[in-house]
């Protein structure tokens, strides 16, 4: 089975900090995604990547950037964390058969 691992389950950061959320998949998938999940809003796409060093903005990229230096790793970066970025962040990897999601990182910005 494909495994998508997010390095942190819970994070608490201060306003203005630079935050890195890491995601690793173990099946050599080309497509990887970052979503944020908020109550009543479902999952919204922040960024996705279809290959190493390739990235595309999703629906809500403002305040975020990403890095994909190796195929298995897709990092989400909050350049200067703000309280409105408190959320659950989900990473996913995709094949033609569908998506596999990580367990999520719950980020609280105080």
């Amino acid at each position: 089975d494909v495994k998508v691992t997010q390095s942190s389950r819970y994070l608490v950061k201060r306003t203005g900090e630079k935050v890195f959320l890491e995601c690793v998949q173990d099946m050599d998938h080309e497509n990887m995604f970052w979503y944020r999940q908020d109550p009543g809003l479902g999952l919204r796409l922040i960024y996705f990547s279809y290959d190493v060093k390739m990235k595309e903005k999703g629906d809500i990229p403002e305040g975020y950037s990403v890095s994909r230096e190796k195929k298995e790793r897709f990092s989400l970066i909050l350049e200067s964390a703000s309280t409105n970025q408190t959320s659950m962040y989900l990473c996913a990897s995709r094949t033609v058969y569908g998506y596999t999601f990580g367990s999520g990182t719950r980020l609280t910005v105080v």
Partner: protein
């Protein structure tokens, strides 16, 4: 652009009762449709998906869904709910020509009464 609507934010059913979760989508062509379940503190797990062919799709954990093009719907059903089915359920639509990026509905939280 595509969109997905799950009209019911919360649903409560009794254990053993039948369940139907509604999903309506907006998409110009034939969509790729998915249902995911998320248990508390977990990521999303795929229940079932529809790409083409038979419009009644069977999934894991006894769930099924029916694609109705005329109604732009993809409702999820289960004949007899178990307490372990309490979770949040997300319907999603994928673009057929853009790397299958998913657009998710807002989710339906299912609570199961004993």
């Amino acid at each position: 652009a595509q969109s997905v609507t799950q009209p019911d934010i919360h649903i409560t059913v009794s254990e053993g009762a039948s369940l139907e979760l509604r999903c309506n989508y907006s998409y110009g062509a034939t969509p790729y449709l998915f249902w995911y379940v998320q248990s508390p503190g977990q990521g999303l797990q795929l229940l079932l998906k529809y790409f083409s062919g038979d419009t009644l799709v069977q999934g894991i954990k006894g769930f099924e869904a029916e694609f109705k093009r005329s109604q732009s719907s993809f409702n999820l059903r289960k004949p007899s709910v178990h307490w372990s089915d309490a979770a949040e359920y997300f319907c999603a639509v994928g673009e057929t020509n853009a790397g299958n990026m998913l657009t998710f509905g807002g989710g339906t939280r299912l609570m199961v009464k004993p």
